[in-house]
C-alpha cells in the first residue's frame, strides 16, 4: 500500500514486488515477481520500488558491526515533524478471530478416512 501511494502522490515511476534492481545512470533495470514467474522492467528515475524478500540474497545481507553501531550513537538525529492533513482511514475496533475447534486426527494407517473427510465433510477434493 504505502510504496504505491507515495509513488502516486509524487508522480514517480513505481514497481512493486521487486526482487532485483540494477541502476545505471538515470535508468534502472528492475526484476519484479509475478504470479508464476518474473518480469524484467526498465524504468526511468526517479523511481520508487516496493522491495520484497529475495531482493538481497541472504549471504549478502550486511549485519552492522559493533564499531558501526557505536559510531551511530554519536551521529546527529534530525527530527522532522509531520505536516499534513487528516488521514482518510482509521481503525476503530479490533477483533479476535473465532475460536477454533480441535483438530480431527486420522490414523496414519487409515488414510482412506482422510480422503473421505476431505471429500465428503470438508468438500475440498
Amino acid at each position: 500500500m504505502v510504496p504505491g501511494m507515495v509513488a502516486g502522490l509524487l508522480g514517480f515511476n513505481f514497481v512493486n514486488a521487486c526482487v532485483g534492481i540494477d541502476v545505471n545512470g538515470n535508468e534502472a533495470k528492475v526484476t519484479r515477481e509475478i504470479d508464476g514467474g518474473k518480469e524484467t522492467i526498465s524504468a526511468g528515475l526517479p523511481l520508487i520500488i516496493g522491495g520484497q524478500k529475495g531482493l538481497v540474497e541472504e549471504k549478502d545481507l550486511r549485519i552492522p558491526n559493533m564499531r558501526g553501531i557505536m559510531m551511530a550513537r554519536t551521529k546527529a538525529l534530525t527530527l522532522v515533524e509531520p505536516t499534513g492533513d487528516a488521514t482518510s482511514t482509521k481503525a476503530v475496533k479490533f477483533e479476535k478471530p473465532a475460536a477454533k475447534s480441535a483438530v480431527k486426527l486420522v490414523n496414519a494407517d487409515n488414510l482412506d478416512e482422510l480422503i473421505n473427510l476431505l471429500h465428503n465433510e470438508a468438500k475440498v477434493i
Binding site: G54, L105, A108
Partner: protein, 322 residues
C-alpha cells in the same frame, strides 16, 4: 453512482477473483439501491460476469494495454470510476491489483482498505472488516473520504450467483505517455504449473523433508491434486526450494481452499501467512507440533510413509470419482 469492480482477465478468460468481486459488489449495490459496473481491459468475452450480477461492462480495448502497466491500468479504472460517479471501487488481492490499487486510491483521493473480508459493517460511517496483524486478528476500518477503494481478500466472500441482464459498451479512456513510464522488457513465466495465488489446493513442505532430493513425492502429491507446491521459510532460505515457493508472514500469503503441510512444525509466522486457507491438513511425526493446534485434520506419522500412501490412495480415489 454504480459500484465499480476491476474484473481481471487472463488468456481471454475472466479470472475467478473477478466473480468474487462481482458477488460482493452485487450485495452492496442491492443494499444501496444501485448497480454493478465492471471494467475489463483487452478481454473479448466478458459474458461470464453476467451470472454474478454485473449490470454493465465497460470494455477497454487498447493495444498499449496488452502488457500490464500499473499506472496505465490504474488510470483506466480511475477514469471509469469518474465516468460512473462511483463511490465504491472494488479490486482484488492479486499481485497486479495490489500494485494498482494505491494508484487508483490516490487518483480518486480515496481512502483504501486492503484485505477486506466481509460486507461493510455500516455505510454511514463507512466501516469494513479487514484482517490485521498478519491474519492474527481483524480490525474494523472506517473510511472517511467520499470515494472508497476496497481490496477484497482472496477466498473471503465466496461466489454468489445472481444472473443479471448485462450490457456491454466500449470505453476509451485517454491515456498519456506518463502512464507508460515503465517498460516490460521480458516476462519469464513457468507455464502449465498452477501458481500459489491461483491454486485451489496447495501442498507445502518444510524441514521435515530432510533434504531437497526428497521433494519428488511432494511434487507428485501436488500433481495428483492439481495443486501448487509451496514451502516454509527455512527451506527457501537454505536454497532447497525457490524463494517464490516460500509461504508465510514474510512470504506469499495462501488463501486456498485446501492447504496440506508436510513436515512443517507450524511456527507462528508460517501460520500467519497460510491462515486464510479454508481447510488445513497437517502431516508431521511430532504430535506436539504447534501446527496441529490450528489444523482441521491431522496425521501423526512419518511423511516418508504417509505421503506415498496418500498419493496412491488419491490416485485410486480420482480414478473412481471422475
Amino acid at each position: 453512482m454504480s459500484i465499480l469492480i476491476y474484473a481481471e482477465s487472463a488468456e481471454g478468460k475472466i479470472k475467478k477473483v473477478a466473480f468474487e468481486l462481482a458477488s460482493y459488489a452485487k450485495k452492496v449495490a442491492a443494499s444501496m439501491g444501485t448497480t454493478v459496473t465492471a471494467v475489463t481491459i483487452n478481454n473479448s468475452d466478458n459474458s461470464a460476469l453476467a451470472a454474478y450480477g454485473v449490470d454493465k461492462v465497460l470494455n477497454v480495448s487498447n493495444d498499449k494495454l496488452n502488457n500490464f502497466s500499473a499506472k496505465a491500468y490504474a488510470d483506466v479504472i480511475a477514469q471509469a470510476a469518474k465516468k460512473e460517479g462511483t463511490q465504491i471501487v472494488l479490486v482484488s488481492s492479486t499481485t497486479d491489483s495490489l500494485y494498482l490499487a494505491p494508484l487508483v486510491a490516490v487518483a480518486l483521493e480515496a481512502g483504501y482498505a486492503s484485505n477486506v473480508v466481509a460486507l461493510p459493517e455500516s455505510t454511514s460511517p463507512f466501516q469494513v472488516k479487514r484482517t490485521a496483524f498478519s491474519n492474527k486478528a481483524f480490525n474494523i476500518t472506517e473510511i472517511s473520504t467520499p470515494v472508497k477503494v476496497l481490496g477484497i481478500a482472496k477466498n473471503s466472500f465466496g461466489l454468489v450467483e445472481n444472473a443479471a441482464a448485462m450490457t456491454e459498451e466500449s470505453f476509451a479512456p485517454s491515456l498519456n505517455d506518463a502512464d507508460f513510464g515503465i517498460k516490460v522488457e521480458n516476462v519469464e513465466k513457468v507455464t502449465g504449473k498452477v501458481t500459489i495465488a491461483d491454486a485451489e489446493i496447495v501442498v507445502s513442505a518444510g524441514r521435515g523433508m530432510k533434504g531437497p532430493e526428497n521433494w519428488g513425492m511432494i511434487e507428485e502429491l501436488a500433481s495428483v491434486l492439481g495443486a501448487a507446491t509451496a514451502c516454509s521459510k527455512p527451506v527457501s532460505d537454505i536454497g532447497w526450494r525457490p524463494h517464490s515457493e516460500h509461504v508465510g508472514q514474510t512470504g506469499k500469503p495462501v488463501a486456498s481452499n485446501l492447504y496440506i503441510a508436510v513436515g512443517i512444525s507450524g511456527a507462528i509466522q508460517h501460520i500467519a501467512g497460510i491462515n486464510s486457507s479454508k481447510v488445513k491438513v497437517v502431516i508431521n511425526t511430532d504430535p506436539e507440533a504447534p501446527f496441529f493446534k490450528v489444523a482441521d485434520y491431522g496425521v501423526v506419522g512419518d511423511a516418508f510413509t504417509v505421503v506415498p500412501q496418500l498419493i496412491e490412495k488419491l490416485k485410486a480415489f480420482k480414478a473412481n470419482n471422475s
